[in-house]
Subunit: 140 residues, 3 copies
């Protein structure tokens, strides 16, 4: 049933749009600071924008994995809400890191906290299905 | 029903094989230009192949996300066809970037165009399910 | 049915935890070798840990794709078992690469072998569904 995954799909699509936005910011920074591909070295202002985008891209598959695991095995609405918070924290991380290395820290901790919370939801949901189905125990 | 996702699965598998091919090209370029791990700096010929592969790898999760969203929420056959076009454009991007920084531009715009089209299909499909299920409106 | 994907979900979650562990190792190496963000250059000891993490992160979406394809289209239990082996080989790769460039080679070949095996399982499963459903042939 598509209704059981439509909120997860919507948050995934917003995440894709956010990654597209970050990529466009790097293209803009390449022009502004005259860093032509394939080089990725330049003034610290450029390297912060570049590294912020790389970090967000690196965490994107991890985010999608825990979004869908927590949504499928725990609760779609709670997972989608956490996902929206995560995307907002990622936006603040990108803006903060672009301004200064210190500026990335507070949103980075927020991002990590939300991810760990979603990992916890996923673990509870997966263990519940494992126990109730394979061991025929009803623990909840 | 596996038949509802088998074309998406097939395109995903072709995408995995393409990424494997790009990775093998980087290993070949490391040998040819004598760039030993963990270094990623070398002559521009090496750095173009390396950056082309990194860029393709970075977009791979984004591609998979919109392939499956547009396939699940809009239409499997249309999404799979767009996916094949994207993989072909990625191959041309990799070859073009390996030859020169300018050579990556035309296929890059083609890639971006296909991705935006699939984002549009996904958005239409997701909004349709959201409206018809949660608001009980039949808008299409 | 969640029972049909719960083992895949469990292995995915373990993979997320492994990636989190690798990220924490890079943060530790940044402190130990005094490499402050956004820089990613430093002594070879740091660059090996950094590149090991980047390589694992780059393969993570590819791994998830073949884990779920082989689990959905071939057999969940076999796919999950291969997935656990892959995560173990990735751990050995990370530790080996952190110690020396040569130390990454044996687990790298093991990782690649497991991935190719899972690609083969996925291909068999996808072709089976394609032939039996779309061509109405029973080939197995």
């Amino acid at each position: 049933m598509l209704a059981n995954i439509v909120l997860l799909g919507g948050v995934t699509l917003l995440g894709v749009l956010e990654q597209a936005y970050f990529s466009l910011q790097v293209i803009g920074a390449r022009r502004k600071y005259h860093v032509s591909p394939p080089s990725t070295s330049g003034p610290p202002e450029f390297e912060r924008v570049f590294r912020a985008q790389v970090n967000c891209a690196e965490y994107f598959p991890i985010f999608l994995a825990v979004l869908w695991l927590s949504g499928l095995f725990f609760h779609q609405g709670i997972a989608a809400t956490c996902g929206l918070l995560y995307l907002f924290a990622r936006y603040r991380y990108f803006k903060g890191y672009s301004a200064s290395p210190q500026g990335r820290l507070a949103p980075m901790y927020l991002n990590a906290g939300i991810l760990w919370f979603m990992i916890g939801l996923s673990a509870v949901g997966i263990l519940h299905v494992l126990f109730s189905h394979f061991l025929e125990l009803e623990v909840f």
